[in-house]
Each structure stands twice: as structure tokens, then as C-alpha cells.
Symmetry: C2
Subunit: 681 residues, 2 copies
């Protein structure tokens, strides 16, 4: 559990986001809609900057990545192939009292007193002789046997038939009702319809801390009343203590039913007729469009493996319990790269070996003792999936560093074999230490996921090949030439490894043994012809999580005490200039001096074609600085009388003021644009 | 109808889009999904450029517009307030044969021969005496009366009851079947179940041109067979001619049923329970989020009316008949600005008058004879809605000109009072002359809509105020001060106009007379306190339509004949450099000269931080130029031996080659970046 101080930190962040227009609740005037968040003016700029930086780094700055912008609604077949229709589900439990649902893994352990009732018995004029009896014994009436005992008479079926054979038959499968009914019939209350008098339906609740047991009884009475049992007697009351139980709904306290899977895809229908044949889903990830369009993109962009396809776009998951502000929301944005690589067997055939992990680490991984030039980090022809995986983890960390998230703020989680999907070779999560991130027993914070970088083998392309019937393999001249020159035993060894991997995939995907064997043999035979299905490394990042991380990372409170001892705390959002929503605030010292205003507008117009400028002339200069500090604007430029030449040597210079330390410098207007560009790019 | 040449032009464009990776069919490997299109590598860049230019022009380059990025799924209340739940529907007709649907206004008039049948009669062993009779008279058997006549016997109910009272009762409400049945019973074929023998269900079809009538009869036979009537006789055949009929399905020829409304919003459910209480819609436009967040944005961005809120994002409409490539698709992207202005009454109170239309036109509207400086076009305090509307139409046209769509390629449609929504004051559509755009009788092409610029009064904010119960008015100090100084008769006049407008809105929105009167009075009384509900001008553009316009506009075929008289036609995509997906191709003259390659890579790396560069070393330089022409790259830079100093005076110069005319020039590498930036920005 995050401690209260960390909750306070989140509250401050949520409040700032609303107050300054970073993030609003969606549809706020209508009471909001749970799990949906809008980005206000500053948030929209921040998000645009982050997406633009990612797109530039991933596609425009590289020769080996092409972009894609696919639709949110795609053929439902895609989600069958990807496995989402069948398995993209969270295990969920339902409150047995309110029917509210909650994700099994989101139930925090709770301790306290549980109170339960077995059912309810409705008082009636007709059965009033027995109302008192039942009332008296109600706590022990937990089962049909208890009721039979109460009426001190086991009645055999033969005896019962003499009384009222029709009713006996009606309750043949309900021993509790039958027992009570027979007892009452025996006592000449034959006309009573007992199915209306008794209900065995468990009511079980964890008492909220500090509440008396009577409050649970009242809830039980309301619960049974809602089922039509007014003026009734609660049956079978029990109480017991639980410690760290995850069997009660966190809000209602109601006992949770057994877990069931709940598919997270939003469902809709396309075309004019709403039928099962035109169900469509809102994509739960952007990745699948990349696999589906793999061939089209490869062919039109003249790329060869290794190469990647990048996409930024909205995705939707109908989370059962959205939470932690924008961290887990139902509509969000992803930035995903699918980087296609040669299988290790192909690398080995062409290069003679596959780069060892140690070799790759020393090339790719950078740290203070071991800085790496861009050239040193260039991908090598003998890189197999491990090398590419390490490379992309490192690339992505460098990206985060480049926008202000230092390595100290990040964490890593290397998925264990038990966590990995059967087709995945590895997955490294890059974490950020959010204010709500949990501490372990030693007080350490691992963080929560910003991005996962997965080595997904050839699973995705293979699935789409199987489901669409369209080939997803590529042809590689280099492989064909190299293969022909390999010694027979090397060919056999690589053939067998490739074959076994393919067969393993096919069998795990439910293909029968015989066709799997045939297909794997065909696939492995393809190697000699230069054919293979590419593997993929997938760096998959969440935009909204990253925005939240940037906001949490930037949030800084500064307390200043003035000469009179009065202290004031203000917020400074220390965004990296690359992501800051506004790059520079431009301000005339005074609003009512036309020559200052005119000059300030000229500076604004000089800078504006190149960056987002906020022009502000309202209020004292100190208040204007403070407003820009809160917006995270890294620089402010002030036009004063010196700019106009009051001190001739300062003519056409401005004051530049730094957000992070309040430092001020004098700079020539002619040098301003280059200075700012060097900082914000 | 577009003529065949124009269809050919569209075919060429669609083919180029797929071949070069501008636009693919979504989910193509699964047979596609109608109305959804993906943007490939070049298309994604083109689209990003357009959106970025719009965002820059509309928000970053202006002080008076703030950005927003809201969710696609919002509270369903928003769509009740906006009217979409009740009225966002197309009238649709259904084919009576295939049940396929088509938009009423998308049915082209057709002429030809109609053939219809009244129903069908199944031959049977039991009734074989009558099979021949029915076969002979089948054309005239169009009604139950005809059948009664055929059997030449009206049977009274009394007579019938003697025969088989049970069957009579069964067919009490079906005179046709009863008549036939009675006749047959009379002839001692009492055991026949006639409900299985006759079906009166009209089959009516417009014969496809050139098809024989027999083909329609075959279709009718299949139609009735599908309803369970094998080996049957068609009843009541009729034929007639129609001219320009819109009563038959354009594809199937089947008669269309009466029109019904079809809501175009995609529907889904949010939260874990799929019930009517958590229906949500995919937004059919981005505008409503702007209205819903109006107050939040205004307060956090320190804006005052007049100011705007801009948003770019996906929207969804479940079009009945998506068509014209990406022009009318089901998932698309919008760029919308809601620009909030003071009502004319407020302008008049503050400024003493409202700018006249003539005054505004001469300020705002630009043409060759009347160019206007930026300063001349600056908005004025006395602008009312007409002025702002003209201003935004002109701003938007200038935007299109700035990305390569000259005024000649555009058209305008000023909506007539009959076309306008009741709350709208004016709406001007900016059209583009697409290859599929229709010609009028004189052969003129008006074009199809790129953008609509609507003056929507205070309708939207008023609706959200009514539906959410949250005030949407603003407070304006200037108005309060000005109002106090107005003469009483002026106050009364403005009060009455504002009051009447408000009352008119309330009554048209279904508010009862008495509360409408009270509310309008309250609203008009607000003026004296400086309160009013802003009006809005809405420039609303479709991204995908604009992309298609840019592609159609850029598409140019160039035919060259070489020395040997062999001619070759290539495609040159003449995009404006601002929108071109790739800004510059960088090419070493030869691939196998390391010093050329090294230098070319250095040039690539020099330019790449500032623009999208395509590095290409494969194939002859002519083929590489042709590839860039097809991609629409405006400039190519070639590194040759002179660059390396073979002619010393040309050291560190490159050849720059222009896409549009093939012209080549020599330029210093040191000047290259500034030269290109001046062209692409």
C-alpha cells in the first residue's frame, strides 16, 4: 500500500492537473465517466510533444523503421488470430450482495468480523403458530435439516403422498422447502404456498471497521426485502473473524463469488445491421495492425529485415477497476514499435555465429563507467534476438533520459519464465517510481510499468498467416546464398532447430500433430530457399502513463520566505524543455507602455514559428513568472526599458529567466532563437 | 454521375495509394472491412504533416485559441444534449429481396423494366388436379379474390363449417388461404395443410440492363425456394416500365421498402456489466467535447471571449454506404475549432455598433485585386457573428492555399435557409473538386465538402447548460460597464432582442412556454450584470478528405519520349513541400564508392534532425529520382565526385534536383539546411 504521504502527493498532482489545464475528468459537467480523462490545453501540448519526440526518434531519425496509422476498428478476425477474443480477459469476482465486480488481483486483503445469514422466513397470518418458533430458533436454521429437526418429524415420502401428492412433486428437488412444507402440512396448514415463505440465499458481509453488528443485520433485512421478503425473520446467523481475506468486495464488504473471466475488449457493431456477423472490437492495442499490414508496409517502403514498423494511436480496454488517475484508464494511447528480425538460425547461417550476450552488453549497454558512442552502438549483422532485445531496452531508456526521466527514477522488471507467454523469449518492463507505487518489505519501490519490451518470437506473424491463409514469410537472398555454402551437418543442425521451434509453436497453438509435423518440415525446408518468418522485438509504451510520469517527476514545491518572514509555497513543474508544453513565456515588463508591448509582440512573432510561445502581459512580473513555473515553461523572456535602449549598451537585449533556479541573464534578441532552439530540441 | 474518365482517375489514385504505401484497406489480409482505411508509411507522414500544420496555424501561432484532447468515449448524456441520440440518423431503405440497406439519398435514379410476383403456390401430389389449373391461371392469381374466382365458388361460412370447422377457425384471418382451402376441401382434399401450399409475399425487381425477363423469374424462384417453396408456381406475374425511379436497390435491383431512420453512432458498453445503463457511443464528431469542457478550458487557459478551443481526433460514423475511397469512411479524423464570440447584442452594447458586412468583406476577404496584409485582417472589437464567420472562411481558405490547394481547385456552398439547422445563422462549405465530384447540367463541377464553417449561435452551450444543469455563461466586465452607460431605450432594445433569441431557442428546443419565458427573461436580465452565453463559429474540417484532396491534386502523369522514340509515363506527386511526406531524398551517386556513401550519410545526418529524409542508394540515379517523384518528395540531393572535390571549385557542393520540373542546381552543403527549411516551413 502506498503510504498516506504518497496519496497526498497524488492528490496534489491531480489537483494541479485540473487547476492548470493538464488533465480534466472526461464529461465532467455530467458527473464524469469512470476511466476516461481529457487533456486540457497544457496537457494536450505535453502529449503532442511526447508523441512527436517518440515518432521522430523511432521513425524519422532512423532508416530502418517505417510508420503506420491504422484504424481503431479492424476486422474481428484480427482479434481471433491474436488470441484476444479468447483470452484477453481479467479474472473478475462479483459481490454476492450488490453484484458489483472487481478484478481478482485488485482486491486488497481485509481483516475483521464477518456476519452471514443462511436465508429468510416470511411471517404470515396463516403460519403464525410457527412464526414464533422459527424466530426463536432462527440462528440455528441454516439448512433444510435444521428445519426438519425444528419440526421434530421426519416424514417419509409415503406419508407425504397421503397429504398432498401434487405439492410433493413440485418440491421434489428442494429438500429444505419440502421438509418445512411437509411439517406444516402435517399440522393442517395445507393451503399455504411455502415457496413464498422461505428462501435459502446466503447473505455474507465483512463488517466495515467500527460498525456494530446490528448494521449488518439491517443490510441483510434490506437485501431480503429487495427480494420480496418483507416482515421476515433472518435465518442462520453466524459470525467469525477473518485475517487478510481477499474474499470480500473492497467497497461493499459483500462476499465475492468465484472468479470468472471478463473480456476487456469494447464491443460494437459495424454496418447497418446489428448482428453477430458484424461484431467489431475497439482495438485493445495498436500492435496487431502492424502485423496485419506487415507485408504491405514491407513491400511499399522497400525495407528488408531487420526493420521495424511504428505506430502511435488510441487503444481501449474496458478495465474493471480503472485507477491511479490516468495510469490505468479505459481509453489510452500507445506508442508501439514492432521490430522484425531474422531468427537466430538464419543469423547463424549467414554470419556463422550469433553475438554472445556478453559481447552485446558491452556494445549496447551504457553506464557512467562505460559510455558508448552512437557508432559503437550500431546494430551488427550477427545480432540475434537477445542482442536486439538488449539494444531496444537500452534505446528506450535513452529516450526516457532524453526527456527528463533519469535512470534513478526508473526501474526494471525482467519477466520470469512463469510470467512469460509461451511464445515469448523475454520481456523487460521499464518502470517508473510513481507516488502510488508500492514499497516492498524493505521499503524499496520497484515502480509501475511505463513500457514493456518483449521478444515475441515469430508468434504474431505465424498466427496471422494461419488465420488469414496469407503467407507472412519473407525471402532473403543472402540466406539462400549462405545456406548453399554451409556444410551438410550445419544445415541439418539449423534445419532441426528451426523445425523444432516451428513445430513447438504449431502444437502449442492447437494444430494436430500430423499437420504440425508437415508444416514445420515445409517451413524448415524453406530455409534453403531463403525463406523464413521474421521474429519480432516489441517495445510497447503507454503515452498516458508516460505523461503522468513526466508530471509526477516535474512536480516540485518551492517554499520561499520573504523579508518579513512570510513564507509561500509554489509549484514549479520542472519539465525537460523538450516536452514542456510552453517553451518560452514572452512578457513586456509593463502592460501600459505601448513601446514595450510592441517590442514584446515582435519577440513573440520572432519565436512563434519555431516553438510554442505564451505571451503574457497581465499582472506583476513575479506573478507572471510564477504562472509559467506552474505551467512548466522552462524560459521566460522579459522586455524592459533596457531593451528599448535606456541603457544604450543593452539595446535589443532581453532578460531570460530560468524556471528551475530563477537565474536571470541578459541576451541579445538576435541570439535568442538559436539559444532557445538549442535547449528545446 | 462522374464520367468514366473520372472513375479511371480514381482507380489510378487508389492503385498508387496502395502501391506506394499511402493508403491500404484496413485488415486487407482478412478481406478488408468496409469503410475503414489504414495509412501506410507515406500516408501516415502526409497525415501527420497536415494535422501538425493545422494545429500550429490554429493554436500555437495564435494567442486566442487553446488546444484540447478529449476522449472518444464520453458520457452518453453529451449525445443526448447535442441531439445525436435522437436525430443523428440517415433515412435508409431496405431491399425487400436481399434486406441490404442503402441511404435514401444515395439511390441513383434508374430506368428499365420491373417484374413482380404476388406470391407462390407449391405443387403437391395431393392437389395435383389443381396444380395444372393454378399453373394456367398463375399470372392473374394476385389476390385471394382471384383464387376464389378461379375455383368459381364462394362458400359461405355455414357451408364451410360443415366441412372442417377446425381448419376454418385456423384461417379465419387469412381470406386467401381460407378461400383456396375451402375450394379444395369441397373437392374432398380435406387432409391437405394449405398453409404450406400458398404464400402471398411480393417479389419485385428492376431488371438489370440487357438481362432477359427469364433471369428475374429465376431469381424469384430462388427467392421463394429460400422461403421453403420448392417445385412451385409463381403467382401474379406483372411487368411495367419505370423512368428515373429511386425505388430499387442500386445493386440488387430489388424493390426498396419504406424509409426508416438509422442512427449513425457506433454503440458500445463501458464498465463490467453490459446493460442499458452503461451504453456509450464512439463520438461522431470531436466538437461536443469542446463544448462540454468549455468552462474548464476557459478558466485554466486564462482566455476571454472571443477565443477558441481546437481539437484534432478520431470520430466514427456507421455510414450505411461508405464510398468514394476515403472520402466517406466509417472511421475518420476531424480538425475542429469552436471559436466563441460575443452575441451581437453584447457587441452593440460595448462598441455601439456591429461591423457591417461590407466593412468586414473589405477587411477580411482577399483576392488578386485586393490583397490584404496580416495587420489589415486583424479581428476588430466590433465584429459580430457575420464578421467572424467571414473571417474564418477566409482564414481556412488561406490555410488550404498554403498547403497547395489553390482557390481554383476549391468551391463554396453557402447553405440555404432550408438547409440550415434551426439554430444556425449561416454555414459555408469549402469544397474540393474531386475526380468523383458531380457535374451539373452545364458541365460545371461544384466539388465535395472538405470543411464546413458554421455560425451555430449559442445553441451548443445552451443545450449543455440545460442538460447538465451547469451554467455555461461567462461574465464580462466590459459589458457590465458599458451597459450601465447605455440610454434606457438602447438597453430595452438590446434586452428585447437578446430575450427573443433566447426564448426562440428555448421554445424550439421543446421547453414549455411559461418556463421558456421565465428563463429568457432571466438570461436577458443577465446582460446588465455582464453575463451572457457565448455564440460560436465552427470551422470543422475532415482530415481524411483533405488528404484525399491533396493526393488527387498532386497526382500528375508525365510522359517522356526518349531518343529511340520509346515513351514512358510516370507519376509525379506534386505535393506542396509543407505537406510532402518526405522532404528530401539524399543519394550517393554510386553505392559502391565508400567515400560517396560516407559523405551522403553525413548530409543525411545533417538534415535529419530538421526534416524527414529518405536515404536511397539502390539503383540508377534516374530510377531513384523517379521513386521520389512518385512519393512526392520535392527535392533530391545527390552527392557525386564533385562533392568530394574532383572539380575543386565544387568541393562540398551537391546537386539539388527539383521534383516538379526536373531542374538541377549546385548548392553548398553549408547552405543546404537553410535552403530546405525555407521551402518546407
Amino acid at each position: 500500500m502506498p503510504d498516506p504521504k504518497e496519496n497526498l502527493q497524488m492528490e496534489k498532482i491531480v489537483s494541479l492537473c485540473k487547476r492548470r489545464g493538464f488533465i480534466f475528468q472526461s464529461s465532467e459537467i455530467y458527473g464524469g465517466i469512470n476511466g476516461f480523462w481529457d487533456y486540457g490545453p497544457l496537457g494536450a501540448e505535453l502529449k503532442r510533444n511526447v508523441k512527436e519526440l517518440w515518432w521522430n526518434a523511432m521513425t524519422r531519425q532512423r532508416d530502418d523503421v517505417a510508420g503506420l496509422e491504422a484504424t481503431i476498428i479492424m476486422s474481428p478476425q484480427i482479434w481471433k488470430a491474436s488470441g484476444h477474443v479468447d483470452t484477453f480477459a481479467d479474472m473478475m469476482r462479483e459481490c454476492s450482495i450488490s453484484n458489483k465486480r472487481v478484478r481478482t488481483d485488485h482486491v486488497e486483503p481485509q481483516s475483521g468480523t464477518v456476519i452471514s445469514f443462511a436465508g429468510v422466513y416470511r411471517r404470515s397470518e396463516n403460519t403464525r403458530r410457527y412464526n414464533r418458533l422459527i424466530e426463536e430458533f432462527s440462528p440455528s436454521l441454516t439448512t433444510s435439516e435444521a428445519i426438519e429437526t425444528l419440526f421434530e418429524k421426519e416424514i417419509s415420502d409415503d406419508e407425504a403422498k397421503e397429504l398432498n401428492p401434487e405439492l410433493i412433486e413440485k418440491f421434489q428437488d428442494d429438500p429444505a422447502k419440502r421438509a418445512l412444507m411437509l411439517s406444516l402440512q402435517k399440522r393442517d396448514i395445507v393451503s399455504t404456498d411455502l415457496s413464498k415463505h422461505i428462501l435459502f440465499k446466503r447473505f455474507c458481509i465483512l463488517l466495515q471497521p467500527g460498525k456494530p453488528i446490528e448494521s449488518a443485520r439491517k443490510l441483510a433485512v434490506s437485501f431480503y426485502e429487495a427480494l420480496g421478503f418483507q416482515d421476515s425473520i433472518l435465518l442462520g446467523e453466524q459470525q467469525w473473524k477473518v485475517e487478510n481475506s481477499i474474499d470480500f468486495h473492497p467497497e461493499t464488504g459483500g462476499e465475492l463469488r468465484a472468479e470468472v473471466p471478463f473480456n476487456l475488449m469494447f464491443k460494437t457493431h459495424y454496418g447497418p445491421i446489428e448482428s453477430d456477423e458484424n461484431i467489431a472490437y475497439l482495438r485493445p492495442e495498436t500492435a496487431q495492425a502492424i502485423f496485419a499490414q506487415f507485408k504491405n508496409v514491407m513491400e511499399t517502403s522497400r525495407q528488408k529485415v531487420p526493420f521495424g514498423i511504428a505506430q502511435v494511436g488510441k487503444a481501449f480496454r474496458n478495465e474493471v477497476t480503472p485507477r491511479n488517475f490516468t495510469f490505468r484508464s479505459r481509453e489510452f494511447e500507445q506508442m508501439e514499435l514492432e521490430f522484425f528480425i531474422k531468427p537466430d538460425e538464419v543469423i547463424e547461417a549467414i554470419s556463422g555465429n550469433v553475438a554472445s550476450a556478453a559481447d552485446v552488453s558491452s556494445r549496447v549497454c551504457e553506464n557512467a563507467d562505460n559510455p558508448r558512442s552512437d557508432e559503437a552502438r550500431l546494430p551488427q549483422p550477427n545480432w540475434g534476438w537477445e542482442a536486439w532485445h538488449k539494444y531496444w531496452v537500452e534505446e528506450r531508456v535513452r529516450f526516457y533520459e532524453g526527456i527528463g526521466l533519469s535512470r534513478e527514477t526508473l526501474g526494471f522488471h525482467h519477466q520470469t519464465p512463469a510470467e512469460l507467454a509461451h511464445y515469448a523469449r523475454a520481456c523487460t518492463d521499464i518502470l517508473f517510481k510513481f507516488p502510488f507505487s508500492k514499497k516492498d518489505a524493505d521499503g524499496n519501490v520497484a515502480g509501475d510499468e511505463l513500457e514493456g519490451i518483449a521478444a515475441r518470437s515469430d508468434f504474431d506473424l505465424s498466427q496471422h498467416a494461419r488465420f488469414s491463409g496469407k503467407p507472412m514469410g519473407v525471402f532473403d537472398d543472402e540466406l539462400r546464398a549462405a545456406w548453399a555454402k554451409l556444410p551438410k551437418e550445419k544445415q541439418d543442425e539449423l534445419w532441426k532447430r528451426y523445425h523444432d521451434n516451428r513445430k513447438n509453436y504449431l502444437l502449442k497453438s492447437g494444430v494436430e500433430a500430423e499437420p504440425a509435423q508437415k508444416q514445420a518440415t515445409d517451413d524448415a525446408n524453406g530455409l534453403a530457399k531463403g525463406q523464413y518468418i521474421p521474429h519480432v522485438i516489441e517495445p510497447s509504451a503507454g503515452v498516458d502513463r508516460l505523461i503522468l510520469a513526466l508530471i509526477a517527476n516535474a512536480y516540485t514545491e518551492v517554499t520561499k520566505t520573504d523579508d518579513k518572514g512570510k513564507s509561500e509555497t509554489t509549484v514549479v513543474m520542472k519539465f525537460h524543455p523538450r516536452v514542456a508544453p510552453v517553451k518560452v513565456g514572452v512578457m513586456p515588463l509593463l502592460k501600459n507602455k505601448p513601446e514595450l508591448v510592441k517590442k514584446a509582440l515582435a519577440v513573440r512573432d520572432l519565436l512563434r514559428p519555431w516553438m510554442n510561445v505564451f505571451y503574457d502581459e497581465a499582472g506583476s512580473i513575479g506573478r507572471r513568472y510564477a504562472r509559467q513555473d506552474e505551467a512548466g515553461t522552462p524560459f521566460c523572456v522579459t522586455i524592459d526599458f533596457d531593451t528599448l535602449g535606456e541603457k544604450p549598451e543593452l539595446l535589443d537585449t532581453v532578460t531570460i529567466r530560468y524556471r528551475d533556479d530563477g537565474r536571470q541573464e541578459r541576451l541579445k534578441i538576435s541570439e535568442l532563437l538559436d539559444f532557445l532552439l538549442s535547449k528545446i530540441r
